[in-house]
Amino acid sequence: MRSFSQFGNDLYTGKRSIDIVSRQKTWYTVSLILLALAAAGLFGRGLNIGLEFKGGSEYQIPSVSNFSNFEARAKTAIGTVNPGSNVVVTKTANTVRVQTENFQSTTVTDKVKTALASQFKVSATSISANTIGPSWGASVSQQAITALIWFLILVSLVLAAYFRTWKMSIAALIALAHDLVITVGIYALAGFEVTPASVIGFLTILGYSLYDTVVVFDKVRENTQEAIGNGRLTFSQAANQAVNQTLVRSINTSVVALLPVASILFIGYFLLGPGTLLDLSLALFVGIAVGTYSSIFIATPVLADLREREPAMRALKKRATRYQAAQARRAGADDNEPEQADAEHEGRDVVHASSRGDASAADRSVHPFVQTGPRNQPRRPPKSKR
């Protein structure tokens, strides 16, 4: 606890800084590899499409006590009603799930229920039957895609209006697409079953991923506005500082969001068996984790890359480099004065070591007076630089 909060403090003051924005190439590479893996999973293995998308019948037999040889028993039960049908039997907790082709008539469904009930020694009324037409999943996907498009349009408008720059919208949407592709890729690679509930889960990830990104961007906006005002930091540096300052927050919010989802996942997996709950929470769990990563390591670097190209930001970079060079020279000139060290730790605007290094490379001959400063005078920066 102590070290974590200390870590947070150091990140906030800039005493410790993780180079996130300036090492964007590393993160991009990592993400590209992940995306490539996801694409390989999607096109190579393909998604494990659930019953809802193919059409079929599913029976859930709860509170089964005797699991010995359950697969064969279920197949026998189905075989007595409809011989030669394709049966998939899975088991979770104390529930046996039997999936088979679609029996159109309810009378067949009832027969199957009776057969299963006698095989597994439960009452026929306790068995859940679920029959899905083949076009059902298609209509769900259709609606999901419509929802996705509407959401993207609305959210980019809202974000552009809120942050007053469409570049933030673009960066947020890139992060969003990144999350979605990776989550779906993980589904393909791990072979998790995709059901309408997981599709809804994917859509909910959109909201959550943006939530995280918006929190970071809010701080980025605040810091960069300050930087533009005082010209002490480049856009990238200000953005990096914002990410560092919100890092603890991002970790905390993600952990807190993941905890309930994890508990659903746990209960769902060990006690409930497959269903809406498990599908939703699995999609959410993967998505929230990926979303946290992307809002820190993808969204902000992308935004910085986009903004750094603007002429105004280039001008800011020049100003900031000049300022930092001056600071570095001053610091180099009177290293032994303790006051300087104080100033270093006092203002959060003071640049961290990594950027000081290149700034001092400015080789301009300076008068000795300028380097050392006036004698015996407490040094104060001019008003504009304060």
Binding site: M1, R2, G8, N9, Y12, T13, E52, S63, T109, D110, T125, S126, S128, N130, T131, I132, G133, W136, S139, V140, T146, A147, F151, V158, Y162, P196, A197, I200, L203, L206, G207, Y208, L210, Y211, V214, V215, D218, K219, E222, T246, N252, V256, A257, L258, L259, P260, V261, S263, I264, I267, L271, L272, G275, T276, L280, S281, L284, D342, E344, H345
Partner: protein
């Protein structure tokens, strides 16, 4: 005890909030004591057990449906469900045109069939009739009996009367007993033999002039007519009812078959249908009739049809009322009826007249439906799901509580109390919704509620971290709470706004039973904002004036020293305070 003047604002907000909660629960108590509300939210089918059917419109050709039609369809299906004696059934729309029927318990196959089955009602001119026997042969007309048609036309119904025609081939004994209005032939029926006569034979190559033109009957249609076996349910089901084309079909009792012209009057053009005893000069005659009212378009179409049919020879003076591919009635047009009302008479009983009227009224559904999914959830499984869902929620809540205590120490209690308050509000609102909007909590809804624990707690974290930032900048706690709130509020509003947007889009557009998930997400997002604004912030403001928090006790979670605050609140020209010097010294050493 005197109130700290700094606390007046926050305390006022808090008391407003308390009033809000008391009001909510007062309302809930009132409606549950004196009204019909329950004290617990209604549970969806997947938790309480039952059957959920999803019906999708079956469209013919390029037919499109609009929202109005779907709404009407829902009304009609609801009437049918209630008519089948099922209580507490829910019928609602979902996505574009899907209709969700939720029934408690397990309905029998007949109920399900009746819901998905009946759908289209059209009036088509009769071209050819024949006995339902596989080989059509000229059959004798039914036994003529006297009918009260003429008096009825002149007196009781000045607008004109349509009378059911004889159904040729019906045994006379059956005509009184069948529910279908098989009845009394009129004089018109006797003038021409009903069968495939040369007059109705196809004229190859001729283009049909109107819907009654025998030219519609192509050799192919003729062949279909011959082949059609009304006794075989499969062949009846296979009949395609395309309004623009003629069709070959059976009567609903399977005793007769028809070739019908294209549809001329649609079921949705029937404004109302009722059954009553025919009245004659103020007194009841004891003869049952079915009264029809048409809407504007229906009046015109019906007028055109009857005007044309009235002069035609039998059987082409009949029009078939087709419901779900089967002719439920084929009355003879006795006059040209242009006033928008009509009556059908025949040998109805009270029950058969009512059945026909209901079919005319509720059968007037402009589309048919296919059964998309049928979900049967046993109550055992539903109950299991609920308890385990609640268990998951409990564990999730405990984890969040533990984590926030670990991270925020005493501030964690603010999180916990805010979460509990949010839970209280959510429970109240959900229960109220399930009373007023008939909202039902499903497993997906429960999932949404559990997931939202994290999302609601997130906004407290945003707030606390912001306050900590301000403390790190050296502000005194009370100032830090205010400035921190000012900044955190913006972030909370926009991030909750984005979440709400996602949930709202999901709710309006996404299909399937996961709609409940989107609903609870939307609800908790709003409740989150309410709680943060009206509870958490005022509470923290008040707490900031206490000694424990205000002076940054070690366990308060807002200890300035622990947060590395620089204490530069006022340091004058020296700018450097002892705390900062110490931090600097530590920094040099490390």
């Amino acid at each position: 005890m005197a109130i700290n003047p700094h606390n007046r604002g926050p305390l006022r907000t808090l008391s407003v909030f308390v009033l809000l909660i008391v009001g909510l629960y007062g309302l809930l108590g009132a409606v549950s004591t004196w009204g019909t509300a329950q004290r617990t939210p209604k549970l969806g089918l997947d938790l309480s057990g039952g059957t959920q059917l999803i019906l999708t419109p079956k469209l013919v050709g390029k037919q499109v449906i609009n929202q109005g039609q779907v709404t009407k369809a829902v009304d009609i299906i609801r009437a049918r469900v209630n008519g089948s004696g099922v209580t507490e059934a829910e019928v609602s729309t979902q996505g574009v045109g899907d209709i969700v029927v939720s029934l408690p318990g397990t309905p029998d196959a007949a109920t399900i069939a009746s819901l998905q089955k009946s759908s289209q009602l059209r009036m088509r001119a009769v071209l050819v009739t024949g006995s339902a026997a596989p080989i059509p042969a000229p059959t004798p007309t039914g036994t003529p009996t006297s009918t009260p048609t003429t008096p009825a036309t002149s007196t009781a119904k000045p607008t004109g009367t349509t009378t059911t025609a004889p159904k040729s081939g019906f045994p006379a004994a059956l005509s009184a007993a069948t529910t279908a209005p098989t009845a009394a032939p009129t004089s018109a029926a006797t003038t021409a033999p009903t069968a495939i006569s040369p007059t109705t034979a196809p004229k190859p190559g001729a283009k049909p002039a109107n819907a009654s033109d025998p030219a519609w009957v192509t050799p192919q249609l003729q062949a279909e007519f011959v082949a059609l076996n009304c006794a075989n349910p499969k062949s009846v089901e296979a009949i395609v009812d395309d309004p623009a084309k003629p069709m070959v079909t059976c009567s609903s009792n399977g005793l007769e078959k028809f070739i019908l012209g294209p549809a001329e009057v649609n079921g949705d053009q029937i404004a109302n249908a009722s059954s009553d005893q025919q009245s004659l000069q103020g007194g009841s005659t004891g003869v049952w009739e079915v009264l029809l009212n048409f809407n504007g378009a229906g009046t015109t179409s019906f007028c055109n049809v009857t005007s044309r049919l009235v002069s035609l020879p039998s059987p082409r003076n009949q029009f078939g009322i087709v419901l779900d591919n089967q002719v439920i009635s084929a009355p003879v047009a006795q006059a040209s009826l242009c006033a928008g009302t009509a009556s059908i008479t025949g040998s109805f009983t009270a029950a058969s007249a009512k059945a026909l009227a209901d079919q005319l009224k509720y059968g007037a559904l402009p589309m048919s439906f296919t059964l998309q999914t049928a979900d049967q959830i046993s109550p055992t499984l539903g109950g299991d799901q609920l308890t385990r869902g609640l268990l998951a929620g409990g564990i999730g809540l405990l984890l969040v509580v533990a984590y926030s205590l670990f991270q925020y120490r005493a501030l964690g209690f603010v999180t916990i109390s805010s979460l509990l308050i949010a839970a209280l509000l959510t429970y109240g609102v959900v229960t109220l919704f399930s009373w007023s909007q008939n909202y039902r909590l499903t497993m997906a809804g429960v999932t949404g509620l559990i997931v939202s624990i994290g999302i609601v707690a997130d906004s407290f974290i945003l707030y606390f971290e912001r306050v900590r930032d301000e403390v790190r900048d050296g502000r005194a706690l009370r100032a830090a709470v205010e400035t921190g709130w000012g900044r955190a509020r913006r972030t909370i509003l926009i991030s909750d706004g984005v979440n709400f947007l996602a949930a709202a889009v999901l709710y309006t557009l996404a299909a399937s039973n996961v709609r409940g998930f989107a609903f609870t997400l939307m609800l908790t997002t709003i409740i989150d904002i309410v709680v943060v604004m009206l509870f958490t912030h005022p509470l923290l403001s008040v707490l900031a004036t206490t000694k424990f928090f205000g002076q940054g006790h070690k366990w308060s979670g807002l200890d300035p020293e622990r947060l590395g605050a620089k204490n530069v609140t006022y340091a004058g020209r020296g700018r450097v305070t002892i705390a900062a010097r110490r931090a600097a010294a530590e920094g040099n050493q490390s």
